[in-house]
Subunit: 300 residues, 2 copies
């Protein structure tokens, strides 16, 4: 099975309460496939400008990501984002954004990716997500993410995409915005009625809850005493989860529970350093060992 992710690749500046780091590789288009790479060889569909540094391309290669779908556009500039975290490291504000290449036509799916079986639609305009979904008619598992912007501005289009995917993964405030229900348990049950077989609600440092066609799952976050940079936690969570589902093909409730756990522990590594720095040092064995520890921590 082949996993494809469409997402934004970004040059980030990150300010935390203790420091600022500039010109970092970021965006769902790298955090997701990097995390997925411990389970499968992921494909990426994204566009960057000709200002995109060579050593960022080398990071894609480090993770053995199939980057034939990473379009480097002559004369365009890469998407840039500057985020600043609040003192509690949970909330964050966007202090600067240059959409650049994201304002242009989205990259079309190359023919050699048309046989992709597992599709992850990272945050994007719902119309782009829908186009991509239609371009991979033989897909067997499709999962999407979204953000408040599209919930507020493109609600009808967004609901059309949600009706067509197998899984939806959003955070608790987005679930509230989408359903009007503050209780994520109620929100997840409402969203399931739209069609997806599973609804995953991310709660940041408080873990994750899932309504699956066959029942519930809930996990706390891995107890992390070192949080350097939470950027990419959600995307690395989704990447490891989808990578594991691609590896196993098991989307039963039990299969999904294990996928959520892999997502949890992989994300817990990611936040230990800026950008992909911690993930670059990881092996599958590191992830499996932490999963075994996490399994003990949540055992009853």
């Amino acid at each position: 099975m082949s996993l494809i992710v469409t997402g934004a690749v970004c040059i980030d500046t990150i300010t935390t309460p203790s420091s600022t780091a500039e010109n970092l590789l970021g965006g769902s288009g790298i955090y997701f496939p990097a995390a997925a790479s411990f389970f499968t060889q992921p494909r990426v569909l994204a566009a960057v400008g000709d200002d995109f540094p060579d050593d960022f391309l080398a990071t894609f290669d480090h993770f053995n990501i199939d980057r034939r779908g990473l379009e480097i556009r002559k004369g365009s500039k890469t998407f840039r984002w500057h985020g600043k975290y609040h003192e509690n490291m949970n909330g964050r504000d966007t202090v600067g954004i240059e959409l650049n290449v994201l304002l242009e036509e989205p990259p079309a799916l190359p023919d050699f990716y048309a046989d992709s079986k597992v599709v992850f639609l990272a945050v994007d305009r719902p119309s782009n997500q829908l186009n991509l979904l239609n371009a991979v008619p033989d897909s067997t598992l499709t999962v999407m993410d979204t953000i408040d912007l599209y919930i507020n501005q493109n609600r009808d289009e967004l609901l059309e995409v949600i009706r067509k995917v197998d899984g939806l993964i959003i955070n608790d405030s987005e679930a509230h915005a989408l359903t009007g229900h503050r209780n994520p348990i109620v929100a997840a049950a409402e969203l399931e009625k739209l069609g997806p077989a599973f609804i995953i609600i991310k709660k940041g440092e408080h873990g994750v809850v899932m309504k699956h066609r066959d029942g519930w799952a809930a996990l706390p976050a891995y107890p992390a005493d070192k949080v350097v940079d939470p950027t990419g936690a959600g995307d690395s969570f989704a990447g490891a989860m989808m990578g594991y589902l691609t590896e196993t093909g098991d989307t039963s409730l039990i299969g999904l529970r294990k996928a959520l756990a892999y997502g949890t522990v992989t994300a817990s590594f990611n936040i230990e350093d800026f950008s992909l720095n911690r993930m670059k040092t990881l092996t599958r064995d590191n992830i499996d060992k932490r999963l075994a520890h996490f399994t003990q921590i949540v055992s009853i």
Copy 2:
């Protein structure tokens, strides 16, 4: 083994976003032993006024609580509290409080309770907690709770009590106030250095995390779609946890993990109705069935 709890017994008025309920039985002195009663016969040490209604005494008897230590003081008035929940049902404000009997001398430990082996010091002035601790020299397990008021106003006395108990159970904002660390994982590790064998940090709807001498535990809350009144969630959590520990005598990391799970599911029943209304309809079998379901939900 015999479990004793010292706590306040209260006449509550509770305002939620959808309704107000008046003259409810409440306080740690009933929520805790009611939850513990599914595992052991708990003893209670508390004082109320002669305005305390007979049907509230009948509730103690419903749960088969040993209430020989519940002092009914002639001429005194029972502690009254009016709490109002925020729209998200997490935060709450005190909109009215009459301390009444709590301003008088605390009840002394009767001789027939001096052989208590398991002691839970619910929220109280640290000096009262310390006196009680000294009055049960043969205790084998001592656990305490506290609140911001005593963290801010009686810090040194409070630290003295913490150094003497086996376990501390507080919520995440109290852990922050006590240690200066916002990350509950870091706060728990710091608090453990003061002496207790285990530090339990409650995170309300986000579950619980524990640092035990031998390792970590973390559990999400039970996925609850019906939250009528969160009052007493923390006390019923602690009551079931301590009741189970009294039943088994197992304070190992594995024993504590199961105790946390019993606390979680018992509290999840309690919030389904006002006061003790839901707990009054419960059986141990109901609790065990929900525990089995919860065990599946968090399984990896």
